[in-house]
């Protein structure tokens, strides 16, 4: 019987490094959303609290998806260290703005991975990342929609604004 020969990795080493950075970014985003959820929870902003808890779960889910993909492709996933997370916020609008900033940062980082995968002909990673590209469009749109609600409601009390935010 012939020896089965295969490449140990179906993923490019450079793409693997970028994806490991992406895991760290997603886990940091998840931790940041937890901090935001806690701020809202303490102030009984129920819809926002639920929204951020769900976001924290989703970001962790994204990280896990990448984590498993790297290992399945023969690479080595790295469990990331989470650097300090901001727990101080001025208000609810500021939290949603920070959340949009964070989503934009994640999107840009996904694009970086995607570009790298394309430039080194790593087709498996490119196809894998397509889902994330669409997902980020959705994520950014959700937060932008919420910020529009803030603009529409002007100086209404926080609790009233929160009640009109989407229930997640």
């Amino acid at each position: 019987m012939k020896t089965a020969i295969r490449k140990q990795m179906t993923i490019s080493a450079d793409v693997m490094d970028l994806l490991n950075d992406q895991i760290a970014l997603e886990m940091h985003a998840s931790a940041s959303y937890l901090a935001m959820a806690s701020w809202c929870d303490q102030r009984s902003l129920l819809n926002s609290k639920a929204f951020f808890y769900k976001q924290a779960e989703e970001e962790r889910g994204h990280a896990m998806k990448i984590f498993e993909f790297i290992n399945e492709a023969g690479g080595a996933s790295i469990s990331p260290a989470i650097p300090s997370v901001n727990n101080d916020f001025e208000g609810l609008r500021e939290i949603y703005e920070a959340s949009l900033d964070q989503e934009i940062q994640v999107t840009q980082s996904i694009y970086k991975c995607f570009k790298k995968a394309r430039s080194v002909d790593d087709f498996a990673s490119e196809v894998f990342l397509q889902w994330f590209v669409s997902e980020q469009v959705e994520e950014e749109d959700t937060v932008r929609g919420i910020l529009d609600t803030f603009d529409l409601m002007g100086d209404m009390p926080l609790k009233m604004i929160d009640e009109r935010l989407p229930k997640e």
């Binding site: 020969i5 295969r6 490449k7 140990q8 990795m9 993923i11 490019s12 080493a13 490094d17 490991n20 023969g74 690479g75 080595a76 790295i78």
Partner: protein, 95 residues
């Protein structure tokens, strides 16, 4: 690269079989599996980031590196650490 086949370097990483790699650092020969090579690559890349290199230079000026699931311990000064990084990146060029 054939031209270099009989030249020996201070640091050499060679693939024996698909899951058996031999790393030679000076006179020390070490056997590594592919996941262990991947882990070594990750450690060396992290140690040679600008920030970490600066930190090493300002302190001990060398690193002690456990490799192959702590089977071996390597003493590496900065030039050797950089050579190892070079060798590893060469090994991964074809992946």
């Amino acid at each position: 690269m054939e031209i270099l086949s009989d030249v020996t370097f201070n640091i050499q990483l060679r693939k024996k079989t698909f899951c058996d790699y031999r790393l030679k650092v000076d006179q020390k020969m070490m056997t590594l599996t592919f996941p262990q090579v991947l882990q070594l690559r990750q450690k060396v890349n992290s140690l040679t980031s600008t920030e970490n290199l600066e930190n090493i230079i300002q302190n001990e000026n060398y690193v002690l590196l456990f490799i192959a699931d702590k089977k071996y311990l390597l003493f590496l000064e900065i030039p050797k650490l950089l050579d190892l990084k070079e060798e590893l990146s060469y090994c991964f060029e074809n992946f």
